[in-house]
């Protein structure tokens, strides 16, 4: 259902200037976070569709080359707030600088995107509430298109809107994707899951404008101080960077099953162990392993789902993996509807065999007699 405009309807706001597409770029202690670059990839497409510039906003201290990198990653303009009091992310100062900047713009951005990270989810609702504009959480697809609002309790909303942000996310409890829109007020806002959108290729030839923006903080913006920030990267679970993810579900039957999954993961060069929410809720493994709507979104080269039924909330977190192999004893399990290869069987028989053959492979691989890969 793409709502093509009936020819008699005239778009509302057709004469009004359309604002730019603005992406919030996250950096932590001078290190760009991948989600911002992914959003530049997605934002570029939206901006091109709207025929408007793609702008980015970045806050921090001693940002160095970061603004240049943001342009090389796709932005036409970068708004930069570089100030000692912005060194670490804090809700109130960041929201002050961003809201002040948006307020003085002649035309407010059409769309504003942030990552659904702990920072994005902290900041985006503050900005949205400040401008009393719509915000869609955890989107997995974004687009621009027309929308005709035909009726409803509020007559002032009726009309044809030519260019709306389509913020698309899996909807709760149903095998549905919901397209959420709010063309009545700009910026139309959304947060997007890390790992979903694809960044553009770094292109140092790209031209763009770097625009420093004012930092005017008030006394009340200092109500919270950051004492210390601990980074625990690579604590054994690097789901977003692993080539292979071996994921376990309730079919493991108990926490001990993860022993077997660890052994399987150990057969690969760069592997991590994932889990369904059900096993996390059961306390078999910690939350950091969870894949899915309320866990991580992953895109490994190989995803091996063991004893996972394949509920929509799990699927949205791993469906873009290059190769999905599912092991489940129930031939009707939903996971077989979207896996590439399905093995029907008891995981306690299948996985040990997989380990055995992978190890055999590694022992004989030096002689290169293994059949070549299709």
């Amino acid at each position: 259902m793409t709502e093509e405009s009936p020819n008699q309807a005239i778009p509302i706001n057709a004469s009004q200037p359309i604002g730019e597409v603005l992406v919030y770029i996250e950096q932590c202690l001078g290190e760009l976070q991948p989600v911002g670059l992914e959003l530049l990839g997605a934002g570029r497409q939206l901006a091109d569709k709207l025929e408007r510039p793609l702008s980015a906003i970045v806050l921090g201290y001693n940002l160095g080359d970061i603004p240049k990198t943001i342009i090389a990653q796709g932005a036409d303009k970068v708004y930069v707030a570089d100030h000692p009091d912005l060194e670490q992310y804090r809700t109130l100062p960041y929201r002050r600088v961003i809201c002040n900047w948006l307020e003085q713009m002649e035309v407010e951005p059409h769309t504003m995107l942030l990552g659904s990270t702990t920072t994005g989810r902290d900041l985006a609702p503050r900005i949205a509430a400040h401008f009393t504009t719509g915000l869609t959480a955890d989107t997995t697809e974004l687009d621009i298109g027309p929308y005709e609002h035909k009726g409803g309790s509020d007559p002032s909303k009726i009309g044809l809107y030519a260019n709306c942000l389509y913020a698309i996310r899996p909807s709760f409890g149903e095998s549905l994707k919901a397209r959420i829109l709010g063309p009545w007020k700009n910026p139309q806002m959304a947060t997007t899951r890390p790992g979903v959108m694809i960044p553009l290729k770094l292109d140092w030839e790209r031209h763009g404008e770097i625009i420093p923006i004012p930092v005017n903080l008030l006394q009340e913006d200092y109500r919270l101080v950051v004492e210390e920030t601990f980074r625990e990267v690579n604590k054994g679970v690097n789901l977003t960077q692993a080539d292979v993810i071996v994921s376990g579900g309730y079919g493991l039957g108990g926490p001990d099953g993860f022993e077997l999954l660890n052994q399987l993961a150990a057969c690969f060069d760069n592997a991590a162990v994932g889990a369904s929410r059900k096993v996390v809720d059961c306390g078999w493994v910690p939350y950091v392993h969870q894949v899915g709507q309320t866990g991580k979104t992953v895109r490994p080269k190989v995803y091996i789902a063991c004893g996972i039924s394949g509920a929509i909330q799990h699927r949205v977190g791993m469906q873009n993996s290059d190769l999905i192999i599912a092991i489940n004893k129930d031939p009707d399990a939903p996971i077989f509807k979207f896996a590439h290869h399905g093995i029907v069987g008891d995981l306690y028989q299948v996985i040990p065999e997989m380990i055995r053959q992978l190890k055999k492979n590694s022992n004989t691989s030096s002689t290169k007699e293994v059949s070549s890969i299709v």
Partner: protein
């Protein structure tokens, strides 16, 4: 003296996703058959609020917005030790998105008056946005700590540890503040004997119940109906799509012994490329 006198915790009733009733085989919800429950994330928020009461003193008020059956979760809060409950229930709230929900709830909070700490869950399992808390904080101009997984109160300030991408952060904030409680915090476990007894009495005695659980409307809290419900919501769900086939056809391997099945996988996929040499 901690100086804490009033603690508010926001809780919501959602369809039950933990019991088999109302769950389709693929884990999706059949709303018609689903039971109701306290949003699982709000159990952590309630536990945090009760922890403050036990450790530092103060009175805990549980606040919810929803249809009349949501009184059930306010009773549950009382069983665990909350002092009172407020339910904002009004037909004009139907179809509120997060902005409209936050508007209505912030009006209730203003109506309740002074508070030191405002706890919310991280997110709901039905709305699933994690937006309502920070949106309320913006309306009330509060300092906020999201993803909080532990805290103490020292010299009238909140010392909290929050989760960030790939790590943690220790922060100190002035009060009042809004805290969204991560699911790494202790969950709600025990009912108090006093609370459980009281809840029993409230079930029997309507007049007594009305002293502990107050059902209020938009008019009571002086909220503008234009800013609530569908009218006050800047977003709408314009369209839903069935999630189509993704990942293409699944090649099934079955009915053979495990070694043959795995050999098939080894032959027709590239997983060996990733194996340790």
């Amino acid at each position: 003296m901690s100086g804490i006198t009033d603690i508010i915790v926001l809780i919501k009733q959602v369809p039950d996703t933990t019991s088999k009733a109302g769950l389709n085989p693929d884990g999706t919800i059949d709303r018609a058959r689903a039971k109701r429950m306290l949003n699982p994330f709000d159990r952590y928020a309630l536990q945090a609020a009760l922890h403050v009461k036990k450790t530092y003193g103060g009175k805990v008020t549980a606040l919810s917005m929803g249809p009349p059956p949501a009184v059930e979760i306010l009773l549950e809060a009382i069983e665990h030790g909350a002092d009172q409950g407020y339910l904002l229930s009004d037909r004009r709230l139907a179809a509120s998105d997060t902005l409209a929900t936050a508007y209505a709830l912030h009006k209730c909070i203003l109506y309740l008056g002074k508070f030191d700490l405002l706890f919310t869950g991280l997110q709901t399992t039905d709305g699933d946005t994690a937006q309502v808390g920070p949106q309320i904080a913006e309306r009330l101009d509060l300092s906020q700590v999201t993803y909080c997984e532990g805290f103490s109160i020292q010299n009238g300030k909140l010392h909290a540890r929050r989760i960030i991408e790939g790590g943690h952060q220790d922060v100190i904030t002035e009060l009042p503040a809004l805290v969204t409680v991560a699911n790494a915090y202790h969950t709600l476990e025990y009912k108090t004997i006093r609370g459980a007894r009281l809840a029993q009495e409230l079930l029997r005695d309507e007049a007594l119940k009305n002293q502990y659980i107050h059902t209020i409307t938009l008019d009571d809290v002086n909220a503008d109906p234009e800013l609530c419900g569908l009218k006050g919501s800047p977003t709408i769900v314009a369209h839903t799509d069935k999630v189509g086939q993704i990942g293409g056809q699944c090649t099934m391997h079955q009915g053979k012994s495990a070694d043959i099945l795995i050999k098939e996988i080894m032959d027709c996929t590239n997983i060996k490329e990733f194996a340790k040499q």
